[in-house]
């Protein structure tokens, strides 16, 4: 290609750069190239890369710009990049192809040019080995290109005779060649660098996603196991109509309710809230529930059952874990409810015909903090149509968009509004009232409800 002015030179260089960008993109996207990046070197992929970078070298010769009878070219680019990115075999192979083509064209600088092309591939490959069989990076690659082309010019001055003619050629092409090759290597380095980052990001993202998938699966299993701790069906208790619901804020939660059949037709009803949320709370909930069940089944008073469970839970409680618990034994024979309230927010007893519910207040410390704690128990006479509402503070602490809490007042109003409906419907009404109140606000805490109605 003949050079006739600065504008032409710029245009031709731009054209060359465009071709290099496209070629660089295509080569780096081949399976052979990415395999080499992953350190998986096979003879087949190396052969393909030799051919590709060799072809680039031939293109470099063909696209050369003739200045004052000498040609500035990017013949060394293919072998340099092949060596830098894929090792000495690819670099040397591409170099030999480029050199053979150049040599076949003969001319004044044939020998040094061919030699420089072979050496460009070889040196590139050695840098690859010295960098620990990795691409050396953008700065190293561009520096190498500048050095290599300077060496190429030196070789021409050393080998070509007469020296004056060699000096004229080198003087004309040295700067354009150094710039053109450095630019070409820069483009390759940029694309290879991007590719490496992209592949790392993808690998990290894949690892993260599969980890997330695994965690989700684990949480689903934990959720299922935890749900199996709640009674599948509440027991039929003569003279009582019972309904309950638990909505964990996360996959697993710290709330639970239970209904434990005791001797003599009696039943123990339990609602509890383990401090904290998520998996730690869920594990502590499992422990507490089992301990409580085991102690409830031994014939003893309510306060002894809770006291003994507390001693066992306190022995296992770590770092501020505790359980608030309400434990009530209903005896249908003498229509009484005997309760122990271990720091749980007071359940509400709606007496038939009363306008304000009665709070069943605390009779002892929360479980898990004082192994030797004593608990009192209270006994109430139950009457027909009495209604007891057990709940956890996740219900009254549900917030709306204005950060107001659902609160005890709304809870009482909701229950009063459907006081004569079946227990199941009261539970559902409260659930809906809380959901409507919260709107789109996320649920912060587990919400658990249980309603007992005396028939």
């Amino acid at each position: 290609m003949a050079f006739s002015g600065f504008g032409d030179l710029f245009f031709v260089l731009l054209q060359m750069i465009c071709v290099i960008v496209v070629v660089a993109y295509l080569i780096t996207r081949t399976a052979s190239f990415t395999r080499v990046l992953d350190g998986l070197v096979t003879w087949k992929s190396q052969a393909i890369l030799v051919l590709l970078f060799g072809a680039l070298s031939i293109y470099g010769t063909e696209s050369g710009i003739t200045i004052l009878g000498a040609t500035a070219n990017v013949r060394d680019l293919g072998p340099m990049v092949g060596g830098l990115a894929c090792g000495p075999v690819v670099g040397l192979g591409a170099g030999l192809i480029g050199a053979a083509y150049r040599f076949s064209l003969a001319g004044f600088t044939a020998v040094p040019c061919a030699a420089a092309t072979v050496l460009a591939g070889l040196f590139g490959g050695l840098i690859f080995l010295l960098s620990g069989k990795k691409f050396v990076g953008m700065h190293g690659a561009v520096l190498f290109a500048v050095g290599m082309e300077t060496f190429h010019m030196g070789l021409t001055l050393l080998l070509c005779r007469p020296f004056d003619q060699a000096l004229t050629v080198v003087g004309g092409v040295a700067l354009p060649m150094i710039i053109a090759n450095a630019t070409g290597v820069f483009i390759f380095a940029l694309i290879i660098g991007n590719l490496i980052t992209e592949r790392q990001t993808k690998a990290e993202r894949d690892a993260y996603l599969s980890e997330l998938e695994r965690k989700k699966a684990e949480l689903r299993i934990a959720h299922d196991i935890q749900m199996s701790f709640l009674p599948e069906r509440l027991p039929e208790v003569p003279g009582l109509e019972v309904a309950a619901l638990s909505l964990p804020a996360k996959e697993v939660g710290g709330d639970f309710y239970d209904a434990i059949p005791l001797s003599g037709q009696r039943t123990a009803f339990v609602i509890a809230d383990v401090s904290g949320k998520g998996v730690p709370a869920a594990l502590f909930m499992a422990l507490s529930r089992t301990v409580l069940r085991a102690n409830a089944l031994v014939p003893r008073s309510a306060r002894e059952a809770v006291g003994e469970a507390n001693a066992l839970i306190a022995a296992d409680a770590k770092s501020g874990m505790f359980v608030t618990l309400f434990y009530a034994v209903v005896d249908p024979a003498d229509r009484t409810l005997t309760y122990v309230n271990a720091g749980h927010n007071p359940p509400l007893l709606f007496r038939s015909g009363g306008d304000r519910p009665l709070e069943l207040k605390g009779t002892g410390i929360i479980l898990g903090v004082m192994p030797e704690a004593d608990y009192r128990e209270e006994t109430l006479a139950l009457e027909s149509n009495d209604l007891v509402l057990f709940y956890t503070d996740g219900v009254t602490e549900a917030i709306n968009a204005r950060e107001e809490q659902f609160g005890e007042r709304r809870l009482i109003e909701t229950v009063m509004g459907c006081r004569d409906h079946p227990s199941e419907e009261i539970v559902d009404r409260v659930r809906r009232a809380v959901a409507d109140f919260s709107g789109d606000e996320p649920q912060f805490d587990d919400q658990t409800l249980m309603v007992l109605r005396v028939v």
Partner: protein, 118 residues
């Protein structure tokens, strides 16, 4: 939701004073726990928690206080709570906290309690 608690730290001699204002519930207790832990991590062994301006505490808030107490007890430190309002005292009583925490009517009494020993 966590914007509704305000936590201020001061020192009086060897005593770290943490004043918790507003509401200590499921949404805000994590923030309070972090601040308390930071004081304890820095080596604080005498902690006074001032609840003069605390309007509300839930079970999550109780857990934060209890975790601080357990940690201090283990490390040989002292925790005192000052100036809890009637509605807070009611929750403490409900949970049985009045039996495990040193409660003082005001900050001065709590500070005097530190010099007198646990």
């Amino acid at each position: 939701m966590s914007g509704r608690v305000e936590i201020l730290e001061r020192r009086a001699g060897a005593v770290d004073i943490i004043a918790v204002k507003g509401r200590l519930d499921a949404g805000s207790s994590e923030k309070a726990e972090e601040r308390i832990n930071r004081v304890l991590d820095a080596g604080g062994r005498c902690l006074l928690i001032n609840l003069c301006d605390l309007d509300y505490i839930s079970s999550s808030g109780l857990r934060v206080l209890l975790a601080a107490l357990k940690r201090l007890k283990k490390d040989g430190g002292v925790l005192r709570i000052a100036c809890a309002q009637p509605q807070i005292l009611e929750v403490f009583t409900m949970a049985g906290f009045h039996r495990i925490f040193s409660l003082s009517p005001d900050e001065a009494a709590a500070l005097a309690g530190f010099s007198a020993g646990p």
